[in-house]
């Protein structure tokens, strides 16, 4: 086993590409170390990406925000402009684990761990976030929802690293929100969750909407019909009812130690309603 701390993304990609045995990327380590401890993964190579220039920063660009792959979630919560523009994404990121985990975990790691219950992912999917992928054959930018393909599996090829997550600049009447259900008040993995991202027209009617559900299917679900049903509305009772129904219907959950199929269906709808209401308010809707 080797531990390396490359200084450039090219070096990191090169090392990963030529690795013979299993290799792991280390940013926050809050998933990787748990899997190593449990004996689920025994990497031959650990590539610590935190020393790579730019990966530990959040930058504001003309198009929006670029969040480096090694930025701990706690730093997202301390970034005023990001928090103001994407409160749903930030609150989702700040729900992962404890304060201790917050100081380490990253949204990129959360995405690449490919858990259907990942907290930040439904919010990122709802936000239409993109991932910048660096690999042996150059860079590409993809929608975050195309990263996880199944629980624990991603579409990334050997040698590829996500170096940053991109979030768009916000128009005036825009808001997002993320809610999850957990049995305790902290420290749990989401039993089911919902992220909602809205923009409104000047009259307060919903112009665009994206709704994503977590822990409701093998990967985070982007529920297009749920977004559709919101468009044009001001979140009246009937629309919210339809939203809940569509979300419950879109779920393909399982029974497991964290919840039942019935519970997840029902609560997915409840959370989508509540998250939509928060997002709507944040967007300036009344």
């Amino acid at each position: 086993m080797r531990y390396i701390r490359p200084l450039s993304i090219e070096d990191a990609v090169g090392e990963l590409a030529k690795a013979v045995g299993p290799a792991a990327i280390l940013a926050g380590g809050s998933d990787l170390l748990v899997r190593m401890k449990g004996g689920f993964i025994e990497p031959e190579l650990i590539v610590d990406i935190k020393a790579i220039g730019g990966l530990a920063d959040i930058s504001e660009t003309a198009d929006g925000f670029r969040i480096g792959a090694a930025v701990p979630c706690a730093v997202l919560g301390e970034h005023k402009a990001l928090k103001q523009a994407w409160p749903g994404v930030v609150e989702a990121a700040n729900l992962i684990g404890s304060k201790q985990v917050q100081g380490r975990c990253t949204i990129t790691g959360n995405l690449c761990n490919a858990s259907p219950a990942a907290d930040s992912v439904p919010a990122l999917v709802a936000a239409g976030a993109k991932a910048v992928v660096a690999g042996p054959s150059g860079k590409r930018t993809i929608a975050v929802e195309s990263v996880p393909t199944a629980p624990g599996r991603t579409s990334l090829a050997k040698g590829e690293i996500i170096e940053a997550i991109l979030l768009d600049k916000r128009p005036v009447h825009a808001g997002d929100a993320y809610l999850r259900f957990i049995p305790r008040t902290e420290m749990d993995i989401a039993v089911v969750s919902a992220g909602v991202n809205l923009t409104l027209d000047d009259h307060g009617a919903i112009k665009t909407a994206r709704v994503a559900l977590g822990a409701a299917a093998p990967t985070v679900l982007l529920v297009k019909e749920a977004g559709q049903v919101l468009i044009g509305s001001k979140l009246d009772e009937a629309t919210l009812e339809r939203l809940a129904k569509i979300c419950a219907g879109a779920c393909r959950p399982i029974d497991d130690k964290r919840g039942t199929i019935e519970f997840r269906r029902k609560v997915a709808g409840v959370l989508a309603q509540r998250a939509a209401a928060i997002a709507y308010k944040r967007a300036g809707g009344k």
């Binding site: 086993m1 080797r2 280390l26 650990i46 706690a74 404890s98 304060k99 380490r104 902290e186 420290m187």
Partner: protein, 158 residues
């Protein structure tokens, strides 16, 4: 398996050690450096008993590799008191009986120190959510929260 040579700072002292690539900072502290104040309650970041502060960030040392401490500043429970002068949190934990068995105490103290450094006047709710990453099975948290409230008051007055 190739050992990793690490130069770091622990509680203000320069420390060097050689560790395995998959060895956690907690293992290094406890088994290589004899700093057994940080405890392993779970090894998976769920209990907070191994809490330490690395470069000003509260972390679970079981979820940090020893190799990652290179060039960092690590603060552990062993560095919390200044000589024979207990930190106000340490003093208040004793006064309020905020510990019974005491196994979670080092982690709580480190987490509470981090909390009060970032938020010197936390509400009860902020204390409770701020310390939610630290499990205590003895006290029901009541006396821990009170000790932190009291310590915060003392530290503000100081």
């Amino acid at each position: 398996m190739a050992g990793v040579a690490v130069s770091t700072t622990i509680n203000g002292d320069a420390v060097e050690y050689l560790c395995q690539p998959d060895e956690t900072l907690l293992e290094v502290l406890r088994d290589r450096l004899g700093l057994t104040g940080a405890k392993e309650g779970c090894g998976t970041g769920d209990c907070g008993a191994c809490s330490v502060i690395v470069d000003g960030r509260l972390v679970c040392s079981c979820l940090v590799l020893g190799a990652e401490a290179e060039g960092r500043k690590v603060e552990t429970i062993e560095g919390m008191a200044h000589g024979d002068q207990l930190h106000p949190l340490q003093q208040k934990f004793i006064e309020h009986a905020a510990l019974q068995c005491g196994i979670c105490t080092p982690g709580f103290l480190i987490a509470a120190k981090d909390l009060l450094e970032k938020n010197p006047s936390p509400t009860e709710e902020e204390i409770r959510f701020g310390l939610a990453g630290n499990l205590c099975r003895c006290t029901g948290y009541d006396k821990i929260v009170r000790a932190v409230q009291d310590a915060a008051a003392v530290m503000k007055g100081a």
